[in-house]
Point group: C2
């Protein structure tokens, strides 16, 4: 059954018009109340402590890969993935109306956004690129300054909302720059008909462990949608795996595959069906 989401609260990292908030509004078609947080840890805390019903976090980006610190936070108890949304990240250079590029001395943005504009940064070595805790927060800060030598890198939405001007659009290194966001909740919550399940598992240190682990899905015709190994901290030659597969835990073949995987793996944690 689909839940009526109107009026639900969702925590996100950053200021209003951060990409996480834009992704949340895309997913829920604006019917939701957004709650800014300083850090990913605070987003998880808000959800666990029931300050908000939902949270949204970035989990991977086409040019930067998986965000391991959010996978680490997902491994803690009391959090379920209940939805996902992809958003094309277009990064724009934003300044006050009337300011020209040649006036700029300092450009502010989130370090991940700066990392995605490295070619632009390298071409303009006379400008200082300054890390801030959020893309949209930088626009808000620049809007409040009387100096004409500052700008920010952020979303079009942030530029519009703060009455700012896009000096140079699309300054990201790669045109196809997509971030996948996860919606999280403290309990299983069906936002839509689930068709995907995310798990994390560790194999035992035995020959062919990964092959045996994957066979539980392939032998049941379950499609894999993502796989990634990650070395286990402080345990050489041991790995954990992030795995997304098609289907949800109400389907007997998926439940059987997971039961089978538990026979083989050192641990299995279901992050959610969505």
């Amino acid at each position: 059954m689909l839940k009526n989401t109107a009026g639900l609260r969702i925590a996100f990292q950053g200021d209003h018009y951060a990409f996480s908030e834009i992704a949340a509004k895309k997913y829920f078609q604006n019917e939701i109340v957004t709650q800014p947080c300083q850090s990913f840890e605070q987003v998880f805390s808000a959800v666990k402590q029931k300050k908000t019903e939902l949270g949204i976090i970035p989990i991977e980006n086409t040019s930067m890969g998986s965000i391991h610190r959010n996978y680490d936070l997902l491994l803690e108890d009391g959090i379920q993935i209940v939805g996902e949304v992809n958003l094309a990240i277009e990064l724009h250079l934003i300044a006050k109306p009337g300011v020209s590029f040649s006036q700029l001395h300092s450009i502010y943005s989130h370090p991940a956004a700066l990392e995605q504009c490295r070619q632009f940064i390298n071409r303009h070595s006379h400008i200082e690129f300054i890390s801030s805790y959020d893309t949209a927060g930088s626009v808000k800060w620049v809007a409040g300054q009387s100096r004409p030598d500052v700008a920010a890198i952020a979303s079009r939405e942030a530029a519009i909302d703060y009455g700012m001007n896009i000096l140079i659009p699309d300054i990201e290194d790669f045109q196809e720059n997509i971030t996948r966001f996860l919606i999280i909740a403290a309990h299983q919550l069906e936002l839509g008909a689930p068709n995907k399940t995310s798990i994390v598992f560790a194999t035992k240190h035995i020959p062919g462990a990964l092959f045996k682990s994957l066979s539980v899905f392939f032998l049941r015709d379950i499609n894999l949608l993502k796989i990634e190994s990650r070395p286990l901290r402080g345990k050489p030659w041991q790995y954990i795996f992030y795995l997304d597969f098609e289907g949800d835990l109400h389907q007997p073949n998926c439940q059987n595959a997971l039961n089978h995987l538990e026979e083989i793996a050192q641990f299995v944690k279901v992050l959610g069906s969505y």
Copy 2:
């Protein structure tokens, strides 16, 4: 046969005492001539154009994951992986002798280093954290300033070399912060007895494609050391895979596995045995 590496030149991204250079010196025990470059692209160009015999690039980090843009550069022709080295990345706050933390207004470092010190940055919101093209280059720049309000985040080696003071050691978010670096060359070059091979492959869009692909290794008792899927640009539901396995291409079972994989996969590219 092991190559005598004394006097070989190696290109790296950053200024002297960047982590890439420290990793190169760790691997070659200081017997090598290092060549700073502004960007990863320039490291690859230096190697392809024979300006240096070798290059070194970061490829993955325990907290930040795989560096996809370097995988993209490895996919281009004319580059082989010939070695690897892991380095613990310890990030220190570095200022001129006599400068105290309370004097600081601006701290400079590479955006990836800033990303790894996010908790430290969040705790000190009155300080500006400014992106630079390199960690060690920031120390060099700070060393040349007469202002007492600037500092850098970089390696211990950079602090020592520029006669600077470590104000606060180990400010990275996670203690186990290890980066894996690859040594690259224009041709196969045995720096040591090879025991690992890296490949990239794409599966055909058929059921069980990944399982069939992995079976070519498991059926020959070849251990996998890394696997990661990445969506193919502009091709929904299609993936490329990064795979590292134990063994080298001189071993018949590894060569047979690759021949078998070529029957199944859409494309296979060997990045190198090392």
